[in-house]
Homo-oligomer: 342 residues x 2
Amino acid sequence: MTDSAFLRACRGEPVPHTPVWFMRQAGRSLPEYRAVRANVPMLASCRTPELVVEITLQPLRRYGVDAAVLFSDIVVPLQAVGVGLDIVAGVGPVIEEPVRRAADLARLRPLTPDDVPDVSASVTALVDELGGTPLIGFAGAPFTLASYLVEGGPSRNHERTKALMYGEPATWHALLDRLADIALGFLQVQVAAGAAAVQLFDSWAGVLSAADYRRYVLPHSAKVLGGLAGGGVVPRIHFGVGTGELLGLLAEAGADVVGVDWRVPLDAAAGRVGPGRALQGNLDPAVLFAPWGAVAAKAREVLAAGKAADGHIFNLGHGVLPDTDPRVLERLVELVHAESAR
Amino acid sequence: MTDSAFLRACRGEPVPHTPVWFMRQAGRSLPEYRAVRANVPMLASCRTPELVVEITLQPLRRYGVDAAVLFSDIVVPLQAVGVGLDIVAGVGPVIEEPVRRAADLARLRPLTPDDVPDVSASVTALVDELGGTPLIGFAGAPFTLASYLVEGGPSRNHERTKALMYGEPATWHALLDRLADIALGFLQVQVAAGAAAVQLFDSWAGVLSAADYRRYVLPHSAKVLGGLAGGGVVPRIHFGVGTGELLGLLAEAGADVVGVDWRVPLDAAAGRVGPGRALQGNLDPAVLFAPWGAVAAKAREVLAAGKAADGHIFNLGHGVLPDTDPRVLERLVELVHAESAR
């Protein structure tokens, strides 16, 4: 498996073809996913190994993707350490008691393997089922977790989060330090159970300027990514949407692979990230709604620009949109493999 | 009035103090606005001169801002040429019959002054009331108008818009050409009635890569901005949120002033926009929710970075958020004026 195209590309080594997987490849775009989830709430499905294994494998059966990604949710580790929350359909995560004062931090203890035996079981079973296909572990980054906790749910403008960050920097850094421990613990569980790579997903980091990201966020994401370095290291992917201004800092935080959204061409991104790091991306998921000829042309542009990187993993620039036609993703995998084969 | 700090800054001339106004300064953050709008639907309020005048003047009475901005909405000119639509509270614009085929374009005729006598009347009355304070006219840019028309309302991912853009480029360009005529006609009415400057607002342009913006959008925004050039020219401000990758192209489209959101510091933006163009921005509107000391520190950073530009108009990096405390904006205007005074 260490010789798989995906892991070779993460390390910047020559590959037989450009590896490809899709963020949110397991999800609502698949009818078999909607069938399995019909009567199961989101968090329950994330905590039930049989369902996690089934949902994680569903896209592998359809597409010849080069990696699986653990089916989970950004808030799972928060729930695991005792934060009262739910994922409400059509809304997103809802936090029972938002975190807004230093006194609230006591509710955020480190995550241990005993908090998520189901996750260990899911990963172990998946690694067994997957054979030579690598499984990517997954966690939300401290800033994105903080935004959910402080706002109490999804937020368009992150007013309360930023008010805390700018107004009470000591509380802010203490909060992000605790969230770094939780995210790191969650990823360590997955790596210990056999995940071959991890992706740290900082969904909302793109709402910050580079100077603020460096000051208020980078040290904490670096703690997560740095905590995974050392013997038996797995490649670390670091991604956030709308992070064109931050690409160099996402790398600096300790990424082996930087995920790029569609706003920045991969050749430009390679310059911002610097040498020795691979890139992941970056076809606009909305392009998949155009006729196939337009999809193919855009995919070829991504492959061409990806040659500038020290390793390229083809992906979308953000998650698969729910109304995406799975047959288009199937053709896209075939195109990426065929046109990049040496 | 041509000697006002605002217009001098637009032209890159020396100013007695850095001028300041706020996008969406007239709006839900003001209790007197909520009172006036209590029983009046959004579109009706935009089409009633007495209300437009009152709402446009409300922030002038509170804050010592250096410019007024016409109270209107991006979809007003679409309604004026006969597109069936409404603005639904909590949702945004809803288009009765979305535009998705070449045959739909016939519904989009050019806008003439006779379509918006109320807008002419509002601007004329405002210019009279405002005395020496400049009034900024306002229109949505072709891409943003197209997104509403094609999607049928606000959209997170703009799938249908991009599918049309990539899949049927001839229809796309014909659509944007018609929308350019409508936006230009709407701005010409405002300038003819006495608006001292205009802002072309491309809310969603930041969802495009630079290459796609250049190919599919820039020629049409250039038609709008270019149509306002010539004798008796007024300064043209061009703004979209999340447009760090596009700043040079927003300038190239024909802007005298480029609006910048908070993700890119103004000194970096000045380099991307090039010499001879002023900048507008760019305090993060979410910062206003932090304690005053943090607001003041951030505002000083904006003022310092703005010195790199050939003219700086202080503004937020996006519109005033509804829960903003008006007293903070009041203090902010005082700070900008006091600290920039020569």
